[in-house]
């Protein structure tokens, strides 16, 4: 098992009830694995869309991207900058 830090933003932080935390997953994992674990640990995040936008170590990635121990996985609501 490896510890992965997770970050939530904007509406997703409200759903999760926090803006940053950590979860334990079997590493190497995929982003989708981490999201499944997040849904268990933070029940409010069950309201997240099935395939939310995600970033690993500050780069947007697809849900099959690899996550290693110590990585930072961020779940991003639809972007609305500008």
């Amino acid at each position: 098992m490896g510890k992965v830090s997770v970050r939530f933003f904007a509406r997703y932080a409200e759903l999760a009830g926090c803006s940053s935390s950590a979860v334990n997953v079997q590493t190497p994992a995929t982003v989708a694995d981490v999201i499944s674990r997040v849904r268990e640990v933070f029940p409010g995040t069950q309201a997240l869309p099935p395939r939310p936008l995600a970033a690993v170590n500050q780069r947007q990635v697809k849900l099959d991207a690899t996550v290693n121990e110590g990585d930072e996985v961020a779940l991003l609501p639809p972007l609305s900058g500008g």
Binding site: R7, F9, A10, R11, A55, Q58, R59, Q60, A74, L76, P77, P78, L79, S80, G81, G82
Partner: protein, 136 residues
């Protein structure tokens, strides 16, 4: 020089960063908070570290595409009242085509890529997260 700020944006400061005697065309873009459905202001929040990294990447890409141009930008965060700017971009190049193109490139990539979110605040005290609609 950070590209994310909490204060009012100054176009003049941005222009000073990009203009030069060899660059005869300068283009500035401002995005301002619009009054829509009783909106009085927008609260902007960001994934700061990623937003900064992404801005650097976008500006580097613009520099690669238009090597003779100079481009910079600022995004303001926090509560921004209607009428004030949330984003300012300035591009200067030897000729106007490159200045317009570089400026346009940056705003379009910002819209697609920056991890920034807005919450609309209304006159009746209600709040609403904005979930992207692609108006241009």
């Amino acid at each position: 020089m950070t590209h994310l700020v909490m204060q009012r944006l100054s176009v003049e400061a941005l222009l000073a960063e990009v203009q030069g005697p060899e660059r005869g065309g300068t283009c500035a873009f401002l995005g301002t908070v619009r009054t829509d459905d009783d909106v009085t202001g927008i609260e902007y929040s960001a994934y700061d570290d990623m937003a900064l990294a992404e801005i650097t990447r976008i500006l580097d890409e613009a520099q690669e595409r238009w090597p003779d141009a100079r481009v910079t930008m600022r995004h303001r965060l926090g509560l921004i009242p209607v009428g004030e700017a949330s984003i300012a971009i300035a591009a200067a190049a030897p000729h106007r085509d490159e200045a317009f193109a570089a400026c346009r490139y940056v705003i379009e990539e910002v819209k697609k890529r920056l991890p920034i979110w807005k919450k609309e605040l209304r006159g009746d005290g209600s709040e609403q997260w904005v979930e992207a609609h692609d108006h241009r």
